[in-house]
């Protein structure tokens, strides 16, 4: 039924040229059979009248022009979905690896999906309580948001992501949840950490996992997030679930993309990354959201490690240009044993404004948040100055701000890995710490809230 080609010509990195082809279309799924019975899949990334350029997902290792039979399958890359998919674990090429029986797909979906019509989007505004003060109080997450964690190697981003997955709830009940987890090039230990954490808490029952490990073919990392998001869209928009998608590590994804681009000899833009990195990433991140008239939602927490802790590196930079804020982890705080080591100043949640306030969290939330930010910034700034020229150079008020910022790190940002704070708790800790600062300095808060919540606490 499908013609089999024995005309593989060049093999370059993850790419393969097939000659003398006919009737091939762009984006088509390709099957490659080797003499030894090995079967791999790929996709057409460029096609001319008699020549197809194929990107092989599981990598080209072991392929030669002599030993490969190539079939073009007349369809794009698809994944089979059904409600039974929940609770299952796949590898990076979309095969089940949990040793349980195969699922019978209700339908097969193209993993690239379609761009959502911006007119169909419903603006995310439902507060998710993660139980983590640095997030809930200062960078609130809402349903349908994409909020990445910008981390560095060796920082506890996995623990933080697992804690978010464990504790997240909306202040409302009776809804269906799922977690979709996409691992790209992470270590066995890291993957195992998530799997066992999900098992221990029972979260595994409502999770779908895609696992590509560090020693698996890097080229699979291109399809892993897309498979995961296709499943997420199915769960959210057809089965009415609220889906939290965790993707780790997006840096490995970008490296894989760079590898393909180099193999194609494309003109690179910054630091060797392809010029279309932004566009490519947006086709992943923009799949978060909500649709008018649909019950479900997709919230994304992508995790990436910043090369050399540099947030201007193209991977965090282009991510930050697409996502709706970022949670920034900091090596200094981590060194000071503050968990979670979230540096709140460069962190941001862009969708917070419509998710907080009266009837959502509390009336004073927005003002309090602004005040905490500015007080912390001022305290840190004053502290820097005092490091250079001594504390004597500070005014008495500045000394209070320094004091505030230190306690803020220890009491507000720092919390237990299993400590699940309510939003009330978080707000109240904030007010307690503001008590250090004289009332006249609290310029960001409306007088009525000061009246209601502020108690001066001399130190």
């Amino acid at each position: 039924m499908y013609k089999e080609y024995l005309t593989v010509k060049d093999i370059i990195g993850p790419l393969m040229f097939v000659e003398d082809v006919e009737g091939i279309t762009y984006g088509e799924l390709v099957q490659v059979k080797l003499n030894n019975g090995d079967v791999r899949y790929g996709t057409v990334i460029e096609v001319e009248e008699r020549l197809a350029l194929v990107q092989v997902f599981e990598g080209t290792r072991g392929i030669s022009p002599e030993n490969a039979k190539v079939k073009f399958l007349r369809k794009g890359l698809e994944i089979g979905v059904s409600p039974d998919i929940v609770g299952r674990i796949f590898n990076g090429s979309g095969h089940l690896i949990d040793g349980r029986p195969n699922i019978i797909p209700k339908k097969r979906l193209n993993i690239h999906g379609h761009p959502m019509n911006p007119y169909a989007r419903d603006y995310p505004n439902e507060f998710i309580q993660t139980g983590i003060s640095a997030i809930d109080g200062l960078n609130p997450l809402v349903r349908g948001q994409k909020l990445p964690i910008f981390s560095g190697s060796g920082l506890p981003h996995s623990r933080l992501a697992a804690q978010i997955a464990r504790q997240s709830k909306v202040l409302k009940t009776g809804e269906k949840f799922a977690v979709v987890f996409a691992a790209m090039g992470i270590t066995f230990d890291e993957a195992n950490f998530f799997i066992s954490d999900f098992k221990r808490t029972g979260a595994i029952e409502r999770a779908v996992m895609f696992i590509n490990l560090a020693n698996d073919p890097s080229i699979e990392r291109i399809t892993v997030p897309r498979m995961a998001l296709t499943v997420a869209e199915y769960l959210a928009y057809e089965l009415d679930m609220h889906v939290l998608v965790i993707m780790v590590d997006m840096t490995n994804y970008c490296e894989a993309l760079k590898e393909i681009s180099a193999a194609r000899k494309e003109v690179p833009s910054r630091r060797g990354y392809p010029g279309y990195l932004y566009t490519d990433l947006s086709t992943i991140y923009e799949r978060a959201g909500r649709i008018k008239g649909k019950k479900g939602s997709i919230t994304q927490i992508p995790i990436l490690t910043m090369p050399e802790d540099d947030k201007t590196h193209p991977i965090p930079d282009l991510t930050g240009y697409i996502t709706e804020g970022q949670i920034m982890l900091d090596r200094g705080l981590n060194g000071a044993e503050i968990y979670p080591p979230i540096d709140v100043l460069p962190s941001l949640s862009r969708l917070k404004d419509k998710g907080i306030g009266k009837d959502k969290t509390r009336d004073d939330h927005a003002d309090l948040l602004n005040q905490l930010y500015s007080a912390y910034a001022r305290g840190k700034n004053a502290k820097e100055i005092s490091v250079v020229i001594g504390e004597s150079a500070l005014s008495p008020v500045d000394i209070l701000f320094v004091n505030f910022s230190e306690r803020f790190e220890k009491e507000y940002i720092c919390q237990g890995e299993y400590e699940d704070r309510t939003i009330e708790d978080t707000l109240n800790i904030g007010w307690k710490l503001l008590g250090i600062i004289p009332r006249a300095e609290l310029k960001r808060i409306r007088p009525e809230y000061i009246e209601k919540y502020y108690r001066e606490t001399p130190i």
Binding site: G23, I24, T25, Y26, G27, E28, I45, E46, V47, E49, G76, N110, H112, H114, P115, M116, N117, P118, Y119, A120, R121, Y123, G144, E266, V267, P268, S269, R270, Y276, Y278, T279, S282, T283, E286, R287, I291, K292, K294, H313, P314, D317, L318, Y321, I322, L345, L348, R350, D353, A366, N370, Y373, A377, I385, V388, I389, S392, A393, L394, S395, K443
Partner: protein, 588 residues
């Protein structure tokens, strides 16, 4: 119509043969699913086409049809309040008919063909008309009278015209032009790559009032002018653009979401209808056209979105309106060009951008201006452009920012540091500039207050002095500063916190009129003058800084626009208090 054949597909680029007669920049329909595309290069028999839709499933051998027309927009009643993609497909209609996701080959007319509009003529039978003359008017929205203009190339006598309820396709007038009788309806088609003609360009005359204090007072833009907002992610580019779309005093806003977030467009769609225009009290959606080609939508259509938006804007300018275009972000547009250029294997320039990047950016901003429109009534119109720029890593030396700075007249530099301290708008007052001060000063000194220029100059001087003093403090501490210098620090802080900073999300603070902007800054400067004098009389600075009216000054932003007389009360109270402590200290 010639028919060609695909010989290559590479992402959004398709190469076809056999399209003889097809011109460069002509639209074609590609493949069996008839995707929209545009010819962007011809080499011998090979026609390179940028395809405005996802090309998955298309392959060599499939047909390509030429249309012999360039990429056109439809201009006519029904644009206001609409939301289009980069090639002017109506997104609301696509959703209604085809669902929540954008499917391939989706095609719907840009303007509603069924809707009846009430047309009233402005000319009479037997009048002689020429291009740009206004034939009549349709009430397009509560705020906008849509002027139906004589199209290009039509000149002659009106044979028929009458008041009626009509769709955009029906004839509204017959004009005898060049011995032919032409039926004129309410749709004009115009090639987006072709700027619309004007009679004459004239110098700018008035500020584009934005209601944003740091902009209007320190770095103003004019009607018909250009401005850019570069800054790293999270520094506030989009909020600035949204604020301008909401509050600037243009008649028409064209907002282009070019390669940015879907939720930001949802935000605009949610907010604009609810907000009231400060001038008229009508909903802001009644003057707005939205173009949304978000980052995940096809990249070639993103490239087109800027041209589509600016052409619509020019059309309303031609009616004699003041139009403002916001493009968020022009960097994504430049990147779309880079992507196509890469696929064409053109010789790359800096950072892989095509060598024509600079000239494309310049021609875009050149489409702004204050003009005398075509038409015998010599009406004036203007078009302002405000472009966001997203420099990688916030590095302003990159090609898009540099090319933009060469052509625009206003630079609002957003600063990451200010943003992380939550000082918004994070417009860095030290590096930003406007080349329109002359125009605005002249306007504001007659329309607002003769002291406009002077207080701006004085406030800016204080801010500059502050940053010098800050450097000093970093090395030697605050103790060494004189009382006068400390006063400068205090007053500068008031300017920053009580004037420059403006919360877009606070309904009382989000918009400030020019008059109030003046009064707010004037109050701070008056306080400064009064305090200097007090220092001369040996009053302690602490005492001055503790006066009660200082609180009033810092909450002056919340004084409602209809109670501006309160500024006088505060001023009187402030003078009274400082005089009081001065007398006290003299007395003792």
């Amino acid at each position: 119509m010639s028919e060609g054949k695909i010989i290559k597909v590479s992402g959004p680029l398709v190469v076809a043969k056999g399209l003889k007669g097809t011109k460069i920049y002509d639209m074609v329909r590609v493949g069996n699913t008839r995707l929209f595309g545009e010819v962007i290069e011809i080499r011998g028999n090979d026609y390179s086409i940028q395809v405005y839709e996802e090309t998955e499933g298309i392959g060599p051998g499939e047909p390509v049809y030429s249309t012999n027309e360039p990429l056109m927009v439809e201009l006519g009643p029904g644009l206001i309040g609409s939301i289009f993609d980069g090639i002017q497909r109506p997104l609301d209609v696509l959703r209604r008919d085809l669902g929540d996701f954008i499917l391939k080959g989706a095609e719907r007319p840009s303007l509603d063909r069924e809707k009846k509009w009430h047309f009233s003529p402005d000319v009479q039978i037997n009048d002689e008309v020429s291009p740009g003359d206004i034939l009549g008017t349709v009430k397009e929205s509560k705020l906008i009278d849509h002027k139906l203009m004589v199209p290009e190339g039509v000149k002659g006598k009106v044979l028929e015209i009458s008041e009626k309820d009509t769709t955009i396709e029906e004839t509204i007038a017959k004009i005898k032009s060049d011995k032919k009788v032409l039926n004129i309806n309410m749709i004009q088609k115009w090639s987006v790559r072709q700027p619309r003609k004007v009679a004459k360009r004239i110098p700018p005359e008035a500020p584009l009032v934005t209601g944003q204090r740091v902009i209007d007072m320190f770095f103003p833009v004019v009607k018909g002018g250009t401005a850019c907002v570069p800054g790293p992610f999270g520094s506030g580019k989009t909020v600035v653009q949204h604020q301008l779309a909401k509050w600037s005093d243009a008649d028409i806003i064209v907002y282009i979401g070019c390669g940015e977030r879907g939720n930001e467009m949802a935000d605009v769609l949610l907010e604009l209808p609810e907000l009231k225009d400060p001038k008229t009290g009508e909903s802001l959606m009644e003057r707005t056209v939205l173009i949304a080609n978000t980052s995940n939508m096809p990249v070639a259509a993103r490239e087109a979105s800027i041209s589509t938006g600016i052409t619509i804007a020019e059309y309303y300018r031609d009616m004699g309106y003041s139009v403002a275009v916001m493009a968020d972000s022009t960097s994504r547009w430049a990147e779309a060009m880079r992507e196509m250029s890469g696929r064409l294997e053109e010789m790359p320039g800096e950072e892989g951008f095509p060598s024509y990047l600079g000239s494309r950016i310049a021609s875009f901003y050149e489409r702004s201006g204050n003009v005398i429109c075509l038409g015998s009534d010599n009406r004036k119109g203007n078009l302002s452009i405000i472009g966001a720029v997203s420099p990688p890593g916030g590095d302003l030396s990159e090609p898009v920012t540099q090319a933009t700075l060469r052509v625009v007249k206003v630079f609002w530099g957003l600063d990451d540091k200010l943003a992380s301290q939550r000082h918004f708008p994070a417009i860095d007052w030290m590096s930003s500039y406007s080349l329109y001060h002359d125009v605005v000063d002249e306007y504001a000194s007659t329309k607002v207050n003769p002291g406009w220029k002077e207080i701006r100059r004085e406030a800016m001087e204080l801010l500059k002095k502050e940053s010098e003093l800050e450097e000093l403090i970093r090395f030697v501490g605050i103790d060494t500063l004189s009382q006068n210098d400390r006063l400068i620090m205090e007053v500068s802080k008031m300017i920053r916190e009580d004037f420059l900073r403006q919360n877009a999300y606070d309904t009382r603070d989000t918009y400030t009129s020019l008059r109030k902007e003046y009064l707010m800054l004037d109050l701070i400067i008056k306080f400064y003058h009064k305090a200097i004098n007090a220092l001369k009389s040996n009053v302690e600075l602490n005492k001055i800084m503790c006066i009660l009216s200082k609180e009033d000054i810092s909450s002056a932003e919340f004084i409602p626009e209809d109670q501006l007389f309160k500024f006088q009360d505060i001023e009187r109270k402030m003078i009274h208090e400082i005089d009081g402590i001065t007398e006290n200290s003299l007395g003792t």
